[in-house]
């Protein structure tokens, strides 16, 4: 059985390969730890070959396209403040952190003085911060996704965002990622670590956009959010890239004792969006609540692999993902709940529902339970359906035409999930965005 393409790093340009090789050899004393992490990741990456469809994780989105193209490193690009402002969300009073092609752009980012929030590039981290970064990133190393390992190798730096202990941060922390247009295929990398201090409360919004162009922009990205004891985080991750973009990314959450996470996902637009979501319940009584909406159309692919690990007893997780798949688009949802041996009294629920708008639309859904404890409550389910003809007819008898009825019914399918968005500005934005996204339904 052929499980890999014999190409390893062939899709990387010569300059990029050279840079990675040099990094592996260099030992600059001040950033020694970062260089080490990068070179280890690259060594791990090189040990593997690109997986084919025979490998479960890549069954529905193989990386064959990488064998057909060459990617070079995204250049340092600059944009004016007004160009950035045109693309950012109109959030009232947010702490904005801007990344252009994966690189942190301090000149476009908010001043964080006296905010109880700090942003520190990994390369400028002090001893204590390095400890925090290395311990969190070591958890992140165990990814089954080789492109995430490549992301670590390619990330020349990273950004550490710290929320001070016992502080309730009123304004959202808004991480805005822009990929600029390019003439040739580009790859960019980003890694961000957010540490929510003990007893802190914050709102975190990750927003990904890209400029449309002729070439392919491949964005690799990893966010690690570490919720310290008794902290709360409301997290949103919005993927709204252009149709020439591909993103392969991972969001990892480490939940310590009594911490609580709400995490919301929204995706549409890009050619490929593959997001791995890992939730590690590491401390007792921690809670996670995941909600996701995906709306692929045309020939787009959206793939969410979620993995919720109940590593310890008495934790609760809830997960609801819904997708509306139009045209010849394809979506994959793989939701795994993993209950460890000693994780008694775990309470986990997962649901995935899908609406197919055409006969060509495709959904591959697989809810999975892996349970090694005996005293747990777990439930999972998935559905795939078309728009209910009876409901369309009922609405028609009330004067609403078929196209409008389909739109109302499609929005109705995800309304309940949109209502979970607590941030008011974001809620308005998403409701409008959904209307626009579904406006082509016929």
């Amino acid at each position: 059985m052929k499980t890999s393409f014999q190409v390893d790093n062939q899709f990387l340009s010569a300059a990029l390969k050279n840079e990675l090789a040099q990094n592996a050899e260099s030992q600059t004393p001040e950033n020694n730890w970062l260089t080490k992490i990068r070179s280890y990741s690259y060594a791990d990456f090189l040990k593997q070959n690109l997986p084919t469809r025979k490998v479960e994780h890549w069954k529905y989105n193989e990386l064959f396209f990488l064998t057909q193209a060459e990617f070079s490193s995204s250049p340092l690009a600059s944009r004016t403040q007004s160009e950035i402002s045109d693309l950012t969300l109109a959030l009232k009073n947010a702490f904005t952190v801007v990344f252009i092609n994966g690189q942190y752009s301090p000149q476009h980012s908010s001043d964080l003085i006296d905010s109880h929030v700090s942003a520190t590039p990994f390369s400028q981290a002090n001893t204590k911060q390095i400890e925090l970064i290395t311990s969190s990133l070591s958890s992140a190393q165990q990814s089954t996704n080789l492109l995430i390992q490549l992301n670590t190798s390619l990330s020349q730096d990273g950004l550490l965002i710290e929320v001070e202990s016992n502080k309730k941060i009123g304004k959202p922390i808004y991480l805005f990622h822009l990929n600029t247009s390019a003439d040739e295929n580009q790859i960019c990398a980003n890694q961000t670590l957010v540490s929510c201090g003990t007893g802190s409360e914050c709102q975190l919004i990750e927003h990904f956009v890209s400029e449309k162009c002729e070439a392919t922009q491949l964005a690799l990205q990893q966010s690690v959010v570490h919720l310290q004891e008794n902290s709360q985080c409301n997290h949103y991750r919005l993927n709204l890239e252009a149709s020439t973009s591909m993103q392969v990314s991972r969001a990892l959450f480490l939940l310590e004792k009594d911490s609580s996470l709400n995490s919301f996902y929204y995706s549409e637009g890009s050619q490929l969006n593959k997001t791995d979501i890992d939730i590690h319940h590491r401390g007792k009584n921690s809670e996670s609540n995941l909600t996701g909406i995906y709306l692929p159309s045309e020939t787009q692919c959206i793939d969410y692999h979620t993995n919720i690990e109940h590593q310890i007893a008495n934790c609760t997780s809830r997960e609801v993902f819904r997708g509306i798949i139009a045209d010849s688009a394809k979506a994959t949802f793989n939701g795994k709940i993993h209950i460890f041996k000693d994780a008694q009294k775990s309470d986990a629920q997962l649901s995935n529902k899908n609406l197919l708008l055409t006969n060509q639309a495709e959904i591959n859904t697989k809810p999975e339970l892996e349970i090694y404890a005996d005293d747990v409550v777990c439930a999972h389910g998935a559905t795939v359906a078309k728009i209910d003809d009876k409901a369309i007819y009922y609405m028609q008898t009330r004067g609403i035409n078929e196209t409008r009825a389909k739109k109302i019914l499609s929005i109705g399918f995800i309304n309940e999930l949109l209502d979970k968005v607590e941030n008011e500005a974001l809620s308005h934005y998403l409701k409008d965005q959904v209307q626009i996204c579904l406006s082509d339904i016929k």
């Binding site: 028609q396 008898t397 109302i408």
Partner: protein, 247 residues
């Protein structure tokens, strides 16, 4: 107003209506009674434009418009309303949103002035009250988790909002207790005027005690086999359908 001539309808190659004729004038209330499987619900579906009902002969016009060549939503815009026997549940779509979309479209088509959200809310609450529904019902999903009685009252409320010229009530009395039946009948009676006509499809005479019909028709095996005044309903209640069918 409604003229049906020799209407023949097939569903999946099975002929259900076998030459039905009916002439309804503005202001009239016609009751259609008949045994199970006689084609009563089919009549409502085919007039309202449900897919899968193939017209193999005959005609049906509403105020001169050929109903049979219009889409279901166009028939509604032209003033036809069907109150469903089994209203469809639409989770995720609130009654408020649904009713507003419906009323806006129909009013727009009929050249009536658009209602502001405030005026619409006021009107919707008023109609809720008329059929004894809690105004909070407007926030709930369309028919979602409604009791049988709530669903039927909601249908009548929709009818009141849309002000149709022809209302077809398909077994609106089925599954209702006496109190709900009274509410539904009061709603219908409040809508009666010289311009609006009703077709009341029912199994039982009971509803006709509350909504007194001008004419009663007996539908059997896809045809109207007997027509009469309101006293025909009483006779049917007493003797059953078999005495006509045998005759």
């Amino acid at each position: 107003m409604l003229k049906i001539k020799n209407l023949q309808v097939k569903v999946e190659d099975k002929t259900i209506l076998k030459g039905l004729s009916l002439d309804i004038k503005p202001g009239e209330v016609h009751a259609i009674m008949g045994p199970n499987g006689s084609g009563k619900s089919t009549l409502g579906y085919v007039l309202s434009g449900r897919e899968g009902y193939e017209v193999s002969g005959g005609s049906a016009t509403l105020n001169g418009d050929n109903l049979l060549e219009l889409d279901a939503d166009e028939r509604a815009k032209k003033g036809l309303f069907l109150a469903f026997q089994y209203p469809v549940e639409i989770p995720g779509v609130s009654n408020m949103e649904f009713l507003k979309a419906s009323v806006d479209t129909v009013r727009d088509y009929q050249g009536k002035e658009a209602l502001s959200t405030v005026d619409f809310m006021k009107l919707a609450r008023e109609k809720c009250k008329a059929v004894n529904l809690d105004p909070n019902f407007l926030k709930r999903g369309v028919n979602e988790g409604f009791s049988g009685g709530e669903k039927k009252r909601s249908e009548i409320m929709q009818m009141m909002l849309l002000e149709p010229s022809l209302c077809i009530l398909d077994e609106t009395d089925s599954g209702l207790d006496i109190d709900a039946l009274q509410v539904v009948a009061d709603g219908v009676n409040a809508c009666r005027d010289e311009n609006r006509a009703f077709i009341i499809v029912t199994h039982y005479q009971r509803l006709l005690d509350y909504i007194v019909p001008d004419k009663v028709h007996v539908l059997s095996d896809g045809k109207i086999i007997k027509s009469g005044g309101k006293e025909l309903a009483l006779e049917l209640e007493e003797k059953g359908y078999s005495w006509i069918e045998k005759a």
